[in-house]
C-alpha cells in the first residue's frame, strides 16, 4: 500500500498541496473579507445586492456603532478588565511557576501536578457556582467580579505556561548568581525574570486575549450596560429580531483590531508559546 502510494510522482503532491492551501485560504479569508467590506456598505447593498466591493462606501455603520450603540464603553470596560486581570495573573503565575519548577519543598510535586488538573476542569461546571459566588459577594456588574471570574481560568493556565517555559530554560546562570551571593528572590528578579521575558510576554498576551475573547462569564455576570463587555455588546446585535448587519460588522471589525494588533506585534512570541502546546484551540 505504502509502496503503491510512493509511486505517485512528486508533482502530484505539489499540485495537491497548492489546491488544499488555496481552498483553506479562501475559507479563512472569505468571512473576514465580507465582515470588513460589509462594514462600509449601505443597507440596500447589504440586503438586496451582493457586491464584492462596496459600491457606495460609507462610514455610517461606524458612526452608528460608536454613537448609538455605545461600543466605546464596552471597549473601555473590556480593556480595563483585561488589563487588570493580565497584570495580577502574570505576577501571581511567575511566582508560582518559579516556585514549582526551581525550588525543592515538600508538597511541590502534588501542586505541580494539580495545575494541569485545575486547568482542565470544565468551564460549564464552574458556571453556576461562579454566578452564585459573585452575587453573594455583591460583585455582579463590577470590574472586580469579572476579574475574579477570569482569574479562575487564567491563573492555572498561565502558571502551566510559565512552568513549561522555565523548564526549557537552563538553571545554570541562576545557580551561578546564587553562588555569587544572590538570594532566591534577587536571583528571581535580576536573572530569571529578564531571561524568561519572552515567556512572560507570551503568557500576558494569551491572558489578555483570553479575557478579550471571553463571552460566558461576561454574559452572566453583568446586566448593567455601564459594565458590559465587548463580547456581550456585540452578540446582542444578534439577539434582537432585527439584524443590523452593517453596524454589527463595523463593531466586529473594531473589536478585532486590538487582538490582531497585539498578535502582529508579538507574532514571534506567540508562535513560540503556541509550540509550548499549552494554548486553547
Amino acid at each position: 500500500m505504502i509502496q503503491l502510494l510512493d509511486r505517485i510522482p512528486d508533482a502530484v503532491f505539489r499540485v495537491l498541496s497548492v489546491i488544499v492551501m488555496a481552498f483553506l485560504l479562501i475559507l479563512v479569508i472569505f468571512p473576514v473579507y465580507f465582515m470588513a467590506t460589509t462594514a462600509f456598505k449601505i443597507e440596500r447593498e447589504i440586503y438586496s445586492e451582493l457586491t464584492w466591493i462596496p459600491v457606495h462606501p460609507t462610514l455610517d455603520n461606524f458612526d452608528a456603532v460608536i454613537n448609538s450603540f455605545r461600543i466605546p464603553i464596552y471597549l473601555r470596560n473590556t480593556l480595563i478588565v483585561a488589563g487588570i486581570t493580565t497584570s495580577i495573573v502574570v505576577v501571581i503565575s511567575v511566582l508560582a511557576g518559579y516556585s514549582l519548577t526551581r525550588l525543592q519543598f515538600p508538597g511541590r510535586s502534588i501542586l505541580a501536578r494539580g495545575v494541569l488538573f485545575v486547568y482542565l476542569i470544565p468551564g460549564s461546571l464552574m458556571l453556576i457556582p461562579m454566578y452564585l459566588i459573585i452575587i453573594k459577594m455583591r460583585l455582579q456588574d463590577t470590574y472586580m467580579g469579572l476579574v475574579l471570574a477570569n482569574m479562575s481560568f487564567a491563573v492555572p493556565f498561565c502558571t502551566w505556561l510559565m512552568m513549561g517555559y522555565l523548564r526549557s530554560l537552563s538553571a545554570e546562570i541562576e545557580e551561578a548568581a546564587l553562588i555569587d551571593g544572590c538570594n532566591r528572590l534577587s536571583a528571581l528578579w535580576y536573572v530569571v525574570v529578564p531571561l524568561s521575558l519572552p515567556g512572560i510576554v507570551t503568557a500576558a498576551i494569551f491572558i489578555f486575549n483570553g479575557v478579550w475573547n471571553e463571552f460566558i462569564f461576561a454574559l452572566i455576570l453583568t446586566q448593567d450596560e455601564a459594565h458590559r463587555m465587548i463580547s456581550v455588546g456585540l452578540s446582542n446585535f444578534y439577539r434582537s429580531d432585527y439584524y443590523m448587519i452593517g453596524p454589527m460588522m463595523a463593531g466586529a471589525l473594531i473589536a478585532m483590531i486590538p487582538v490582531v494588533l497585539i498578535y502582529i506585534m508579538a507574532q514571534r512570541f506567540v508562535v513560540g508559546g503556541l509550540a509550548a502546546g499549552a494554548v486553547k484551540g
Partner: protein, 313 residues
C-alpha cells in the same frame, strides 16, 4: 524556544538536582510563600466553586428563591430519566469526535503543505492564524450571518449562481445545522493543530529524510515512516487537550444555533446553560456537568499519563 518546548511541555518533568540541606530548609517556606497567591486564587475561585457545584446539584436551588433545600439524588434522577438525556450524551460525543478528527486531518495536511519551502510561507502561516486569534463571538457572528436564511451571503451567492431556487434556512434544518456547527468549530480550531504540528515537524532532523530517500522512500513513505512517528508526542497531547476543550465549548453552539433546530445541536455545556440560566433551575443545571465528569476525568487522566509516558520514554 519553540523547538525544545514542543517536546518540553509534553515530556517535561522536574530535573532532580542535588542541593545543600541548609538551602533546602530555607527553600521550603519560600516555595510555599511564592505559590501561596496562586494557591489562594485556585482554592477560592476553582476549588470552592467545584465543591459548591456538587453541593448545589443535591438541592432544589433556583435563581432568586433563596438557598434551596436538600433533595438528595432527585436532580440526577430528573436529568437521567429526561427523555433525551442519553441522546444528548451521544450527541456531545459525536460532535466532539467529528470536530476533533476533522481538525486533526486538516491540521496535518496544512502543516505538511506549509512545511515545504516556498516564497511567502511566513505570510501564509500568519494568515492561517486568523481564525485562531479571532474571538469566537466575532467568528460565529460572521458565519451566522453568512448562513442566514433571509439575508445570508451564502444564500445570495447560491441564488446569483442559480444553484438554488429559493433561500435555504441552513441553521434551521437538522443536518445542515449539525454540519455547520461542526464546520465553525473546525474552522476556529484547526489552525492551532496545524501550527503545533508544523512546529513539531520542524524539529525532525533532515538527515532522517535524506536517509529514507537513499533507501528509496517516496514522499508518502517519508511522511508515513518518519513524519508521523516523530510527531506522535505532539499530536497525542494536542489531540487529547483539544478533545477536552472541544467537548466543553459553550460559546460557539450557544451563539450559532442555541441548540436548535429543536434540540439537534444541544450539547452538554449548552444543556447546563439552558437549565440553569434560562429555566433558573440551578440544581438540575449543576447535575448535568457532574454526570459528564466521568468522561472528562478519563480524558484528563489520559492526558496526564500520556505526558508521563512520553517523559519517561
Amino acid at each position: 524556544m519553540s523547538q525544545q518546548s514542543v517536546m518540553g511541555q509534553a515530556v517535561a518533568q522536574p530535573i532532580p538536582r542535588k542541593k545543600k540541606s541548609s538551602l533546602r530548609a530555607n527553600e521550603a517556606w519560600l516555595g510555599w510563600l511564592l505559590v501561596l497567591p496562586a494557591l489562594i486564587v485556585v482554592l477560592g475561585m476553582v476549588g470552592y466553586p467545584f465543591i459548591e457545584a456538587i453541593r448545589i446539584s443535591f438541592t432544589d436551588r433556583m435563581i432568586g428563591r433563596g438557598p434551596g433545600h436538600w433533595v438528595g439524588l432527585k436532580n440526577y434522577a430528573y436529568v437521567l430519566t429526561w427523555p433525551s438525556f442519553d441522546k444528548m450524551v451521544l450527541r456531545t460525543i459525536a460532535f466532539t469526535i467529528a470536530a476533533v478528527s476533522v481538525k486533526t486531518v486538516v491540521g496535518l495536511i496544512l502543516a505538511c503543505a506549509l512545511n515545504q519551502p516556498f516564497r511567502g510561507r511566513n505570510i501564509l502561516r500568519g494568515t492561517f492564524m486568523i481564525p485562531w486569534i479571532l474571538p469566537s463571538y466575532i467568528a460565529v457572528l460572521v458565519w451566522k450571518w453568512i448562513f442566514d436564511g433571509q439575508t445570508g451571503v451564502l444564500n445570495q451567492i447560491l441564488m446569483n449562481w442559480s444553484l438554488i431556487e429559493k433561500n435555504i434556512p441552513f441553521l434551521a434544518r437538522q443536518w445542515s445545522a449539525i454540519g455547520l456547527l461542526i464546520f465553525v468549530m473546525v474552522w476556529k480550531g484547526y489552525p492551532f493543530y496545524a501550527l503545533t504540528f508544523l512546529a513539531g515537524m520542524q524539529t525532525i532532523s533532515p538527515e532522517l529524510y535524506d536517509a529514507a530517500k537513499v533507501d528509496g522512500a517516496g514522499r508518502f513513505g517519508r511522511f508515513w515512516y518518519i513524519t508521523l512517528p516523530s510527531l506522535r508526542p505532539v499530536m497525542g497531547v494536542v489531540i487529547l487537550l483539544s478533545t477536552i476543550w472541544t467537548m466543553n465549548t459553550l460559546d460557539i453552539p450557544l451563539l450559532l444555533t442555541g441548540g436548535g433546530p429543536s434540540d439537534y445541536t444541544e450539547v452538554f455545556p449548552l444543556l447546563t446553560y439552558h437549565l440553569a440560566l434560562q429555566n433558573f433551575r440551578l440544581g438540575e443545571g449543576a447535575a448535568v456537568p457532574i454526570l459528564m465528569l466521568p468522561i472528562i476525568a478519563i480524558l484528563v487522566y489520559a492526558v496526564a499519563t500520556y505526558m508521563d509516558k512520553e517523559a519517561n520514554a
